[in-house]
C-alpha cells in the first residue's frame, strides 16, 4: 500500500472516532465522568502502528478534542502524544506478537494519561485537579478505553496495514 493510502485511512478513522467522541458520546457520563476514547485510540494506534505514527495520530486526535474544551489548547495533545509514544515504544521493545499488549497498554496508558494531564494542568495553574475524584476519572476512562480497545485495534490495523509500517502481530 502506498503512503497516501495510509494517511487517507488514518484521516477517515480519525474523523469517525472524533464524530463518535464529540457527537455520539457527548452526553454520556459514567459516575459523572466523560469517557475519553480519543486518548485510548491514540494509544492503540501507537501499539499497532509504532511509536512514531501512533504519537502523530494521538496528537491529531487529542488536538481535535482540545477544540471542544476550554482547558489550554494543546494540553491533551501533549499528553496523548507522550503517552502514545511510550506505549508504542514498550510494545516495540516487546518484539514478537503479544496478545495482551493492546489491553494492558491501553489501561496503563489511559490511567497515566489522565494523571499526567492533571499534573501538567496543575503546573500550568489550573486549580484543584489533583483530588481524590481523579482516581474515578482515571478508572472510568481506562475501563471504557479497555472495552473499545479491540475495535480500536481492528481500525488501527486497517490503517497501518500490518506487514508494512506496522508493529502489529
Amino acid at each position: 500500500m502506498n503512503p497516501e493510502a495510509h494517511w487517507l485511512r488514518a484521516a477517515l478513522v480519525i474523523g469517525v472516532l472524533f464524530c463518535i467522541h464529540e457527537a455520539l458520546l457527548r452526553g454520556l457520563r459514567i459516575d459523572g465522568v466523560r469517557p475519553d476514547i480519543l486518548l485510548g485510540a491514540g494509544i492503540v494506534a501507537a501499539v499497532v502502528g509504532g511509536p512514531e505514527l501512533g504519537a502523530l495520530v494521538a496528537f491529531v486526535l487529542a488536538l481535535l478534542g482540545d477544540l471542544f474544551v476550554n482547558t489550554p489548547f494543546g494540553l491533551s495533545a501533549l499528553v496523548a502524544c507522550l503517552v502514545a509514544f511510550v506505549a508504542g515504544s514498550i510494545r516495540f521493545s516487546l518484539g514478537t506478537h503479544t496478545r495482551w499488549a493492546v489491553p494492558i497498554l491501553t489501561v496503563v496508558g489511559s490511567i497515566t494519561g489522565v494523571v499526567l494531564w492533571a499534573l501538567i494542568g496543575t503546573v500550568l495553574g489550573l486549580p484543584s485537579l489533583l483530588h481524590p475524584h481523579l482516581i474515578v476519572v482515571a478508572a472510568v476512562v481506562a475501563a471504557v478505553n479497555l472495552a473499545i480497545s479491540p475495535a480500536n485495534a481492528v481500525a488501527m490495523r486497517w490503517v497501518f496495514a500490518p506487514g508494512e509500517r506496522s508493529y502489529a502481530g
Partner: protein, 314 residues
C-alpha cells in the same frame, strides 16, 4: 549508522510534536486571538452534526445514562417518594405559604434581574472536560452574547460565559474551582468572595471581615463591587454552615448554591458586562432580606470588551 538514524527519527517526531503542543499551550495561555476563533469556528461547524446525532441517538444515550446511573436513580426514586409523601401532607400549608411568598416577593421586588435584558438559552451539553465544570448553551454571539456575561436560572446565579462562538456559548459554573464571585450577605453588611470547590460541593466564602457573623440560612447575593463581572443583587447561595475557627475570631462559611447546577435545562444570559456599568456604592442591604438590584444597578447593554480572566474579584 542506518540503525541509529532509524531509531532517532521517532524521537525527532516526538520532539516536534512536544514543541508544537507547548507552542499552542503558550499561545492559548497568552490569549492569542486565533485560538478562540478557531475553537468558535470548529464548534459552529460541528454543532449541526452534534445536534443531529444527539437527537437521533437520544434513546440510546438515555438508556446508557440510566444504566450507568442506576444506583443514583434508585436513591433519587426513594428520595422523591419520601418527598412526595411529605409534600402531600403539607400541600395546604404550602398553598398558604406560596401566596404569602408571592405577596412578599412583590413587596420586596425580588426580581433580581431587574430591567437587564436577557437571552434565554437551552442547555445542550454538560462539561466537555472532566476537569472543568461547564455547560454549553445553544445561543452564541449571534444572539448578542459576549464573553464574561453573567448567566442565571430561576432562582439565581449559574455562572458566566467563558467562550462564545456564533451559535453556542460555554458557561463556567459557579462550583468550578477556578470560579469566584464577590458576595454580600443580607441583611448584614458582611461581604466576601465565594469560590467554587468542585461538583456537588458547597462554595467556600472568604469574608473581608473574618469576624463578621453570618447565620446559617442567610442568603448571599452578588456584591457588584467595582470590577465585578456580575451585577449587584443576584442570589448566589444560602449559608449552609458557618463554623467558628478554633483560636481565632473568624468563621469558615460555606454556601449552598440556590440553583441546582446539576439539573439545568434552560438558563438566561444577562446582556450585561462590567465595563460600562455604573458602580453603585456598597450600601447596607435592606432589612427585609435580599437586596434589590433593580433599584441599585440600572440595566446596561453590553460593550464588546470582555470583562477578563477566569477568576473574578469581589
Amino acid at each position: 549508522m542506518a540503525v541509529s538514524r532509524r531509531s532517532a527519527r521517532p524521537r525527532f517526531t516526538l520532539l516536534v510534536l512536544i514543541l508544537a503542543s507547548l507552542t499552542l499551550i503558550t499561545l492559548d495561555l497568552r490569549g492569542a486571538a486565533p485560538i478562540p476563533r478557531l475553537r468558535g469556528k470548529a464548534r459552529d461547524l460541528f454543532s449541526p452534526i452534534q445536534s443531529a446525532v444527539s437527537s437521533a441517538t437520544r434513546p440510546v444515550t438515555d438508556f446508557f445514562h440510566g444504566a450507568f446511573q442506576y444506583r443514583q436513580l434508585e436513591n433519587d426514586n426513594a428520595r422523591l417518594r419520601a418527598q412526595l409523601a411529605q409534600g402531600r401532607s403539607q400541600q395546604i400549608q404550602d398553598q398558604y405559604l406560596l401566596q404569602t411568598n408571592k405577596d412578599l416577593t412583590d413587596l420586596l421586588k425580588l426580581d433580581f434581574v431587574g430591567d437587564i435584558p436577557t437571552v434565554a438559552a437551552r442547555v445542550i451539553a454538560g462539561s466537555e472536560s472532566n476537569f472543568q465544570l461547564t455547560i454549553v448553551i445553544d445561543r452564541g454571539s449571534g444572539a448578542g452574547i459576549l464573553k464574561g456575561m453573567p448567566v442565571v436560572a430561576g432562582q439565581g446565579l449559574v455562572g458566566r460565559v467563558i467562550e462564545v462562538s456564533g451559535k453556542q456559548s460555554t458557561i463556567l459554573l459557579l462550583t468550578d474551582p477556578s470560579a469566584s464571585v464577590g458576595v454580600q450577605f443580607a441583611p448584614s453588611t458582611a461581604v466576601g468572595v465565594a469560590s467554587g470547590q468542585g461538583q456537588g460541593k458547597p462554595l467556600t466564602v472568604t469574608l473581608v471581615d473574618p469576624s463578621a457573623s453570618v447565620p446559617v440560612g442567610t442568603v448571599a447575593v452578588t456584591s457588584g463591587l467595582e470590577g465585578s463581572p456580575y451585577p449587584r443583587g443576584v442570589p448566589v447561595g444560602e449559608v449552609a454552615s458557618a463554623l467558628s475557627e478554633v483560636g481565632v475570631q473568624s468563621h469558615v462559611v460555606t454556601l449552598r448554591p440556590v440553583v441546582d447546577l446539576s439539573q439545568l435545562s434552560y438558563v438566561d444570559v444577562l446582556i450585561w458586562t462590567a465595563q460600562s456599568a455604573p458602580v453603585p456604592a456598597p450600601a447596607p442591604a435592606p432589612t427585609s432580606g435580599v437586596t434589590n438590584p433593580a433599584t441599585t444597578v440600572p440595566p446596561v447593554v453590553s460593550s464588546p470588551a470582555s470583562p477578563g480572566g477566569g477568576v473574578s474579584g469581589p
